[in-house]
């Protein structure tokens, strides 16, 4: 076990961790933040996607020990975030989730798309979502939800 100091959802965490433990297991099993889901554990499904230092990352391919000094934000850490609030609303309105297993990773990826690619059209949204698999929705609602948030932000910016 090795010492680890990092920040999770704004709170300082000091713990000890085995080098082989990936970030998702540490969050779920020790910190009891079970919003981050695990699907494939080899980077393909996107269910475990969260933010490390402000950028989306696969928590199944991120060893916890490599997060020394990092700022980690899980789906539980976006309660006060206006973009995430808009996305939550839009996901609900457009039926962008069913079982919800993919949703935490989907929302983190969606937020990255909205902020990084304000010009993204449907084709680009679909391309950017290629790394997040949903077994339930067929993606139509997810794409619509993200597009609606982008459109609302652009018209708000244009109207200012």
């Amino acid at each position: 076990m090795k010492p680890l100091h990092f920040t999770v959802n704004g709170k300082a965490v000091v713990t000890r961790v085995a080098p082989r433990t990936h970030l998702a297991d540490l969050l779920r099993e020790e910190l009891r933040l079970t919003g981050t889901n695990l699907g494939c554990e080899h980077g393909v499904c996107g269910a475990c996607t969260l933010e490390v230092d402000g950028a989306p990352a696969r928590s199944c391919l991120t060893l916890a020990i490599t997060c020394e000094g990092a700022k980690v934000r899980t789906i539980e850490g976006f309660d006060d975030d206006p973009v995430m609030a808009a996305l939550r609303e839009a996901f609900s309105e457009h039926h962008a989730l069913q079982c919800g297993y993919c949703t935490p990773g989907m929302l983190v990826t969606a937020r990255d798309i909205v902020i990084r690619l304000p010009q993204a059209d449907e084709a680009r949204i679909r391309e950017e979502l290629a790394g997040n698999l949903c077994r339930c929705t067929g993606y139509v609602g997810i794409v619509r939800a993200i597009a609606s948030v982008i459109a609302a932000r652009n018209s708000a910016a244009g109207g200012r």
Binding site: K2, A18, P19, R20, H22, D25, E41, H42, G43, G46, T49, V52, A55, P56, A57, R58, C60, L61, T62, L63, I65, T66, E68, T109, D112, R116, E127, E128, A130, G131, N132
Partner: protein, 269 residues
């Protein structure tokens, strides 16, 4: 599955990383973005005794234009390249290729050097760096050397690098402002590894015209004098046969189509 147990050290300089390697055993491995090593560990296909984390080595993240070309640090991520970390026309070409690698969450951590050292024959940088005639600056416990990208890969996940050798940077020759590049990656879903890769790099000012056929069984096939191939699309089939693909096979077909499309893209530039 879960990864097997291993030790862990974080290096802050190339010297420190090499020192960790020298003081450990030969089953130690360098860890960069973990985007290839992570899956191998979780599947228990890799069982290193220790990981030497090179993500905190600043030197590996530098990217500089030199009089002779470009030097890109091995630790530069795919996402940084996608976002324009590499200057000039070559940088613009690399940005497009980076965008086609995996998904943004993977690109945020995966690195150029890790991709080359991992040596998946279908990896995008393996073919691209061979196409652009890049050299790898490599440092090991007993010294440093350069390895041409073109002859780096010896087979699937096998390279000319010794286990202690750390890729420090990738050195690209100076392509002139008149140079044009094209790349075609055939895959069924965005972000997947390629079924076929082809690319052209044509610099009329320097009189260089190279082509690459990638996603082979091993090293990418580089055609160092590709002017004839550029002149005649019909030459594509023979080039793919010469690269070791069996005429009439599915693999031969997709590689030939990729090569023709890369050629079309270069001509359209």
């Amino acid at each position: 599955m879960k990864a097997p147990a291993f030790g862990y050290e974080r290096a802050h300089s190339v010297e420190e990383a090499l020192l960790f390697y020298a003081s450990g055993d030969e089953d130690a491995k360098y860890l960069a973005g973990g985007q290839s090593l992570g899956p191998l560990l979780n599947l228990r296909l890799a069982r290193p005794s220790m990981l030497i984390d090179v993500r905190s080595i600043d030197e590996l993240r530098e990217c500089t234009q030199t009089p002779d070309g470009l030097v890109i640090g091995a630790g530069v991520t795919h996402a940084a390249i996608e976002d324009g970390a590499v200057p000039g026309p070559v940088g613009a070409f690399l940005a497009v290729i980076a965008h086609g690698i995996a998904y943004r969450a993977v690109r945020n951590r995966g690195t150029l050097g890790g991709s080359l050292a991992h040596a998946d024959p279908a990896a995008d940088w393996v073919s691209t760096m061979a196409l652009l005639d890049a050299q790898l600056d490599v440092r090991g416990v007993t010294g440093e050397r350069q390895v041409p990208a073109e002859s780096l890969v010896e087979g699937p996940l096998a390279t000319k690098l010794a286990p202690d050798e750390l890729v420090v940077s990738v050195r690209l020759p100076g392509w002139s402002a008149a140079a044009r590049f094209s790349y075609y990656k055939f895959n069924r879903k965005p972000g997947e590894f390629a079924d076929a890769i082809a690319g052209f790099a044509y610099d009329p000012e320097r009189g260089v015209c190279r082509a690459v056929i990638g996603a082979t069984d091993g090293a990418p096939a580089v055609i160092a004098d590709a002017l004839e191939l550029l002149a005649a699309a019909e030459a594509s089939e023979a080039a793919v046969t010469a690269a070791g693909f069996e005429p009439g096979s599915f693999e031969h077909h997709v590689h030939a189509v990729a090569l023709r499309r890369a050629r079309d893209r270069l001509i359209a530039r």
